[in-house]
């Protein structure tokens, strides 16, 4: 399927190139929904300028990128647009190849299960056929590249695109079974922002033996150490640790974004700040263990859930993070019959996306609203996302249940039963 994929890449690159040349790029790079203090391009330029001036980029409160990003853009600052378009293309191609491989594995497992007669007779309509799975990789790439969130994020030159590329490469190498590359990409992703650490559980689920787990942990920690040491040698001081990781974990900057932290911490008593900070941050990592226990047979769905949890609960989310897990939705297109809230969720997501700029304008420029209005939309947006993720989780588990116990469930007395997620 190279030809449709190439066409898709050309169309995506054209759209981004056209938008770069128009006035949209300047408008979008200022929007708080698309860029955060961690990923804004203006801050990267500021950090480079400070470095040229001889001042440490981390001496102010503006720059929160890792040293490797500084050095990458030191050489590529004139080709920034091409870099971000290339990152999007790499992400799309990596997701395409990963999903193709995953589909093959799913189909193979299904074939063995069919031959072993593990499925009840009445759930044969739930069995997936190669015909319906053929176009899924292309749909995944399309969902990522043509998603307005991704396009906006690329046009705003948010470094979130680079993060997504690294995570996509991690997913590809994990699905293919290449443990070394998987460990390296995971350590790169963790080095950039701490939260992808939770994806290591999914990678470890691909490994069965204890010795491989130890090897993986060793490779991961080794590459992380290399990156940290490299950063130290590049800049000559440890300034970046509090500026990057301290910033992500302690959330000093309360710039509005589509996350849950900012207004909550703006209205909080100082006395309880540390407590709530710990609660919010643990919230991100907390779901790893229960989810990995429940989904130990399905690591890719676990990755999807983890990505969603990270995007919703991280300290400075942007629409670029959302677009990465939304790209996975075509993979679970066979679950549509079990989704219950999809109409509500999509309406709320669309409405909130439209309301974000409106209420921002009313709050900041017109002065007739205040931060509560904007935070309300943020809350609604995140509730919709949580509902989306939990809906897909419910549908996935329900299908698994039907595959084990049959499609038309009957209680002990023969009457029809319904399934409820507890």
């Amino acid at each position: 399927m190279a030809a449709p994929m190439t066409l898709l890449l050309i169309v995506a690159v054209t759209i981004r190139a056209v938008l770069y040349r128009s006035g949209v790029a300047d408008l979008v790079s200022e929007r708080v929904e698309v860029v955060s203090p961690l990923t804004a391009w203006k801050r990267v330029v500021e950090g480079l300028a400070l470095l040229d001036l001889g001042v440490s980029p981390y001496s102010g409160d503006v720059f929160h990128e890792t040293p490797l990003i500084i050095y990458l853009f030191h050489f590529l600052v004139d080709y920034a647009e091409i870099t971000f378009m290339l990152a999007d293309v790499i992400t799309a191609v990596a997701l395409y190849m990963a999903v193709k491989d995953y589909n093959k594995q799913v189909f193979r497992k299904q074939k063995y299960a069919l031959e072993a007669d593990r499925y009840p007779l009445d759930c044969l309509e739930l069995i997936r056929s190669p015909g319906e799975m053929y176009y899924i990789p292309l749909k995944v790439a399309m969902c990522y590249l043509l998603n307005p969130f991704t396009v906006l994020s690329c046009v705003a030159k948010s470094t979130c695109g680079l993060n997504n590329a690294v995570i996509a490469l991690f997913i590809l190498s994990t699905v293919k079974g290449n443990m070394l590359l998987s460990a390296i990409f995971l350590s790169l992703a963790t080095y950039q922002s701490i939260y992808p650490l939770t994806l290591s559980a999914a990678a470890l689920l691909y490994l069965i033996f204890w010795w491989f787990v130890a090897q993986y942990a060793f490779m991961y920690l080794g590459s992380l150490l290399v990156l940290v040491g490299l950063s130290f040698f590049l800049l000559g001081f440890w300034d970046y640790l509090p500026s990057v990781y301290g910033f992500i974990l302690s959330v000093p900057d309360l710039t509005p974004n589509i996350g849950l932290f900012w207004d909550f911490f703006a209205e909080m008593f100082e006395h309880f700040r540390l407590f709530f900070l710990c609660v919010f941050q643990i919230n991100v990592f907390f779901y790893t263990l229960p989810l990995s226990i429940k989904l130990k047979e399905h690591p890719v769905f676990l990755i999807f859930m983890q990505l969603a949890v990270i995007s919703i609960f991280k300290s400075y989310p942007t629409v670029g993070d959302i677009s990465l897990y939304l790209a996975f939705l075509p993979v679970w297109s066979h679950l549509h019959r079990f989704l219950r809230n999809i109409f509500l969720v999509s309406c709320v997501l669309l409405a909130c996306s439209a309301l974000f700029p409106v209420l921002w304008h009313l709050w900041i420029y017109a002065g007739s609203a205040n931060s509560n209005f904007y935070y309300a939309i943020t809350l609604l947006f995140n509730v919709a996302q949580i509902l989306l993720v939990s809906d897909y989780f419910y549908a996935f588990l329900r299908r698994e249940h039907h595959l084990s116990y049959g499609l038309y469930l009957k209680r002990k007395d023969g009457s029809e039963a319904t399934l409820v997620l507890k």
Partner: protein, 503 residues
């Protein structure tokens, strides 16, 4: 017998001297014409041209004199070498010279580069063809060499005495750029002096504009009675002319005319070397039209060939003025080069040109403090430009050493940025404020603006001031000028003086 021998020898002597005299006479005239055509090969002509002063573009008669002098110098040298060399080698060359007819046309090209105060660069190309011929008498001119045939036919068919046409894109900013060499209004401008022999000037004018619109691929056919005038006092003929009867003058302008590649290409085709050799290789439309100001013009007028004005030559001048704005935003460095301006470098002079030179205006920076030009040249020339004596660095493209070992000439002009001291301490939220100190050299009669971008931060509820709608106050900035002051240091004053005099 001795008397016979005496008279015969005297006759022989007289005959020999007559022969020698005739030889000398012919050698004066023929090598001059030959040296004009093969200017590169003849070493005498090259030394003659480098010794001369720079041309003065506005005055014509002095140029004629210079050419005369140059020719005299060259022939004198040549005659001397001819006499000193062996007679058998001189005789065959003399015969060759006398058989080639003297060409009556001459082509010169020059480029003047002037860095402007505002950081832009003004480049002015001038291509001049001089041709001693007569378009006005009945015999049709058919053998064209350097003069373009299309324009020659226009002159003879429409009995044009002078023709000035210019196409300009952009607006000349006099406040920032100074005075241009030749001012031109935006759009297209055409003014023509016709010969006395024209009976119906309006009809001829109409036909002329249509023919010119075909030659220059411009919509000059829109020139009609609605935009043509007959000025009575503002215009005088720029070439030689007996009568200035304003009935034969027409002026029209099309301010909406857009200049583009379609106008540049036929303009370039009028040059003898086209855009293949010489300075015209730099005229590439993708860079020329990416400029703040672009003006191309053609001026045709009759001029005197010598100071006695016995014969008349036709002068065709093609000028192209362009101002490039190559500011690199965000970076203080500004570096110019021929490659950056025109995306080409020079490899040779036009072989049909008698002189091909580049002048870089260094009047504002004689010591080389503000900018440096590389490759360096020791050739300097001075000229009066618009009443102002200016100094130029000269690059002669007819000499091979100009191109050096790389066989190509790429002039670099590097602005030496005054290393201003900047001390910047960025702020940390709720810890310390911003501190920005800059040591700046302000040029005279200028306005300097310093802008700082900032981002707003959301306050915690405890940090709100009692009246938040008032906003925040930003402190004033401090400007200190480094001026030595004796008054302030003098504290031991015992004289009766008011206190404010010691501030």
């Amino acid at each position: 017998m001795a008397a016979h021998r005496c008279s015969r020898s005297a006759l022989l002597l007289v005959l020999c001297s007559l022969c020698l005299f005739s030889i000398a006479e012919s050698q004066e005239t023929t090598p001059a014409g030959d040296h004009r055509a093969t200017g590169v090969d003849n070493p005498q002509s090259v030394t003659g041209s480098t010794e001369q002063m720079a041309e003065q573009p506005t005055v014509v008669e002095e140029e004629e004199e210079e050419e005369e002098d140059r020719r005299w110098e060259a022939t004198r040298d040549e005659v001397e070498t001819e006499n000193t060399s062996a007679p058998d080698t001189s005789a065959p060359t003399f015969e060759v010279h006398s058989s080639v007819p003297k060409p009556k046309d001459d082509f010169q090209e020059e480029l003047v580069i002037r860095p402007l105060h505002s950081g832009d660069i003004y480049a002015s190309f001038q291509f001049r063809t001089l041709w001693e011929t007569d378009f006005t008498t009945g015999n049709k001119v058919s053998h064209y060499r350097l003069f373009p045939k299309s324009l020659g036919q226009v002159i003879s068919k429409f009995s044009v005495r002078e023709l000035h046409i210019s196409f300009t894109q952009g607006y000349w900013r006099t406040m920032q750029w100074g005075q241009p060499f030749l001012p031109s209004p935006p759009g297209a401008e055409l003014w023509v002096w016709f010969q006395d022999s024209v009976t119906d000037v309006d009809e001829t004018w109409k036909e002329l504009t249509n023919v010119l619109s075909g030659i220059f691929c411009a919509s000059l056919n829109f020139i009609d009675s609605t935009n043509t005038v007959q000025p009575s006092a503002s215009f005088k003929p720029l070439g030689i002319g007996n009568v200035t009867d304003h009935r034969f003058l027409r002026y029209a302008t099309l301010p909406r005319e857009i200049v583009c590649t379609e106008n540049l290409t036929p303009w370039k085709k009028l040059l003898p070397c086209g855009s293949k050799a010489g300075l015209a290789v730099l005229l590439k439309s993708e860079k020329l039209f990416h400029s703040s100001f672009h003006s191309q013009a053609v001026h045709i007028r009759p001029v005197c060939k010598d100071w006695q004005c016995k014969t008349k030559s036709w002068e065709l001048r093609q000028t192209l003025n362009v101002v490039f704005d190559l500011h690199t935003p965000g970076q203080g460095k500004q570096e110019w080069s021929l490659f950056k301006m025109f995306s080409r470098t020079l490899t040779e002079a036009c072989p049909l040109a008698s002189s091909s030179k580049i002048y870089v205006d260094i009047t504002d920076d004689p010591q080389g403090e503000q900018f440096e030009v590389s490759p360096a040249t020791h050739l300097l020339s001075q000229a009066m430009v618009l009443g102002d004596r200016r100094t130029f660095s000269l690059y002669d493209l007819t000499q091979q050493i100009t191109f050096g070992t790389v066989r190509s000439l790429n002039l670099h002009i590097r602005w030496k940025s005054s290393e201003g001291y900047i001390h910047y301490q960025p702020s940390k939220d709720r810890v310390r404020p911003h501190l920005l100190e800059m040591l700046v050299q302000l040029p005279p009669n200028s306005v300097t603006e310093v802008t700082v971008q900032f981002e707003r931060a959301l306050l915690k509820w405890t940090e709100y001031t009692p009246d938040p709608n008032h906003g925040f106050y930003v402190g004033s900035s401090v400007i200190s000028s480094l001026v030595p002051s004796i008054v302030a240091m003098d504290t031991n004053s015992t004289r009766e003086q008011p206190l404010f005099s010691s501030l």
